[in-house]
């Protein structure tokens, strides 16, 4: 079977900015005259009308529908960015989230009037805590990064409650790129821990850091499996070392898709961790709408969880405010609609089903790895979990073709490129995560596209300097775009 091709052989509609559709005085919607008196002081009112496009409803619909047809999405084809970005959202999730009892509930309703919704949050918290082997969970954080911040802030509150003012968080270079940023936002200094040649943290590097910074270390924050898709094999021993100096082990659960029902972070010695419901539990991505980055913790950190907590007493769901809580990190209880989707996914699969999800995700990634290593250098020889990392070193030697060109060439085969130049520990990295939902046929097609590109490079037929050539928008000047920023419609060259 030939790889998917002809990404542009369908009707593609060009579309300008919505301002170009504007006609003076045209209105799409008329706000009714407010019945309540205006309270905003006039000093804060704008004096000139806002520059908004004047368009009718259908023009707005056409504008955004046309633009959306330019998108590549998992609903169109294999998406090698994987769960790291977002995995397939089963349609049953949407059906459940659209139930009137869930979607029409007001976030400020008193508990007696929203027992069902509180029960859903309570159940999802327990399910997520069980999946990771920890004692409690909050669903409040609106995204993974806010979850990281929440976990770190809880760790800070824990240390300060015990009169300990610590300064540093150790972050291995195999951790997610957001981890050091979150440490700094939480008021800590991030100390980089080098990764060993096998692609995971060595106990010795953590021992070195402990002998240097001692009890000034608040925590170690790691992503496991890490960004190389490799399991942090020394994690339990590292947890013991950290606990020995009263420090906490924080885990970024971004890669939980690899270990559902197989390994529990709680058993590895993790004290607190965050997940991304869109990465693992098939909810829409936070970047494109409301997200959720729940945080689970061990019992000693429960007092510091965000307020309010949902409790179940005598058959009634209620809210409770903890005195030592770090406070609210998001309005209401978080993004409720996302929680409905995640619980649907968990209940739809059940415990055995979730285990199968991770098994299939790992098998798919390793099948691709086995296919692709025929022509590509692997980023590490250590076994991968749910994603595999390739390098462009062979292709550079063959005819100077680099990762960026290979990624662009893939677009001409009808695929979205994988993550490139990350992780930084592998030169010219291509990080490929097919997820559990791709069939053998689809994996074979993707592999065939990769291998055909590699064969053309090996035979010195192409360097793909001009790729992509078949897409709606051809090769773009990324360097020029970054160096000469055009930030407004009015600044566009005409």
């Amino acid at each position: 079977m030939k790889p998917q091709s002809g990404a542009t052989s369908c009707l593609m509609l060009r579309e300008g900015t919505i301002f170009e559709r504007s006609t003076p005085e045209r209105k799409g919607f008329q706000l009714s005259f407010p019945e309540v008196p205006r309270l905003t002081p006039t000093t804060f009112s704008r004096t000139e009308p806002a520059e908004l496009p004047e368009v009718a409803e259908l023009q707005v619909v056409r504008h955004f529908t046309r633009l959306s047809s330019w998108n590549y999405a998992i609903d169109l084809g294999t998406f090698p960015l994987g769960s790291c970005t977002m995995k397939y959202n089963p349609r049953i999730n949407e059906e459940m989230a659209a139930l009137a009892g869930f979607c029409d509930v007001h976030p400020e309703l008193p508990p007696p009037f929203c027992q069902g919704s509180l029960r859903l949050i309570f159940q999802l918290e327990r399910a997520l805590a069980e999946i990771v082997g920890l004692d409690a969970c909050t669903l409040q954080p609106a995204a993974g990064a806010l979850g990281e911040f929440t976990g770190l802030t809880m760790v800070r509150a824990f240390h300060e409650k015990h009169g300990s003012h610590r300064k540093y968080v150790l972050v291995p270079e195999s951790a997610h790129g957001t981890n050091p940023a979150s440490c700094i936002l939480a008021g800590y200094q991030a100390i980089t821990i080098k990764v060993g040649p096998e692609g995971y943290m060595t106990t010795a590097s953590v021992e070195d850091a402990i002998s240097k910074y001692g009890r000034d270390i608040a925590a170690l924050m790691t992503t496991n499996p890490n960004t190389l898709g490799v399991f942090e094999q020394n994690i339990s021993h590292i947890a013991e070392l950290l606990h020995g100096i009263g420090a906490q082990l924080i885990m970024d659960g971004a890669n939980m898709n690899a270990i559902l029902g197989i390994a529990k972070p709680g058993d590895m010695g993790v004290d607190v961790m965050q997940y991304n419901l869109h990465k693992t539990f098939s909810t829409p991505h936070g970047g494109g709408g409301p997200g959720a980055g729940p945080v689970a913790c061990r019992s000693h950190l429960i007092p510091f969880l965000p307020n309010p907590r949902i409790v179940h007493k005598a058959g009634i769901y209620d809210v409770e405010y903890l005195p030592d809580s770090i406070g609210k990190v998001k309005g209401a209880f978080g993004n409720f609609g996302v929680m409905v989707r995640a619980l649907t996914y968990i209940m739809n699969h059940g415990s055995q089903g979730l285990r199968t999800v991770s098994k299939n995700a790992v098998i798919n990634a390793n099948y691709l790895r086995a296919q692709l290593q025929k022509k590509y250098q692997l980023g590490t020889s250590t076994p991968h979990f749910h994603e595999c990392v390739l390098s462009d070193s062979r292709q550079i030697q063959q005819n100077g073709t680099k990762t960026l060109q290979i990624a662009k060439a893939l677009m001409d085969y009808g695929y979205h490129p994988p993550t490139v130049y990350f992780p930084l520990t592998v030169p010219g990295a291509m990080l490929i995560e097919p997820t559990e939902t791709e069939s053998l046929q689809e994996l074979d097609q993707l592999a065939e596209a990769f291998l055909e590109i590699a064969a053309r490079i090996e035979n010195k037929e192409d360097t793909f300097e001009n790729a992509p050539t078949k897409t709606f928008v051809g090769k773009v000047d990324e360097v020029g775009a970054a160096r000469k920023l055009i930030l407004s419609v009015d600044d566009r060259p005409r």
Binding site: Y421, P427, A482
Partner: protein
């Protein structure tokens, strides 16, 4: 193969330093610019600021990644390559001359002596592939 001029000292993070009396001129190596790809933005300290050995003193951003610049010496910044801030491509075109970043007045003129000489840096980047 990336060029490694003689007469300079090199860090593991791929900065080069030229010591002339108590003035250190600092930039990033040919290997570094090659690995980063097209540089799109550079952030450097202001004249008069103190920078410390092994600590970040600036940022270089390329189409691939954002990386910290680590100072090979401790001292006061006496000159910043202003044209570079508007034309970051100079780092790609000429990392060792027009692409220099800052000049630093150092207290300890032996500050750079523990860094790699051209021979050992060459070996170091060959290992890195």
């Amino acid at each position: 193969m990336a060029s490694v001029p003689g007469g300079l000292r090199y860090t593991k993070e791929h900065e080069w330093v030229l010591m002339e009396d108590n003035i250190a001129t600092i930039g990033i190596t040919d290997f570094a610019q090659e690995s980063l790809g097209d540089v799109t933005y550079i952030q450097l300290p202001k004249e008069g600021e103190m920078i410390s050995k092994n600590d970040p003193f600036g940022v270089v951003e390329s189409v691939k990644a954002v990386s910290d610049l680590y100072s090979p010496v401790t001292g006061r910044v006496i000159e910043v390559n202003q044209p570079l801030l508007d034309a970051p491509e100079l780092v790609n075109q000429d990392p060792y001359s027009d692409g220099w970043m800052v000049k630093v007045e150092v207290k300890d003129t032996s500050d750079a002596e523990d860094l790699m000489d051209p021979g050992s840096y060459k070996e170091y980047i060959e290992e890195k592939g």
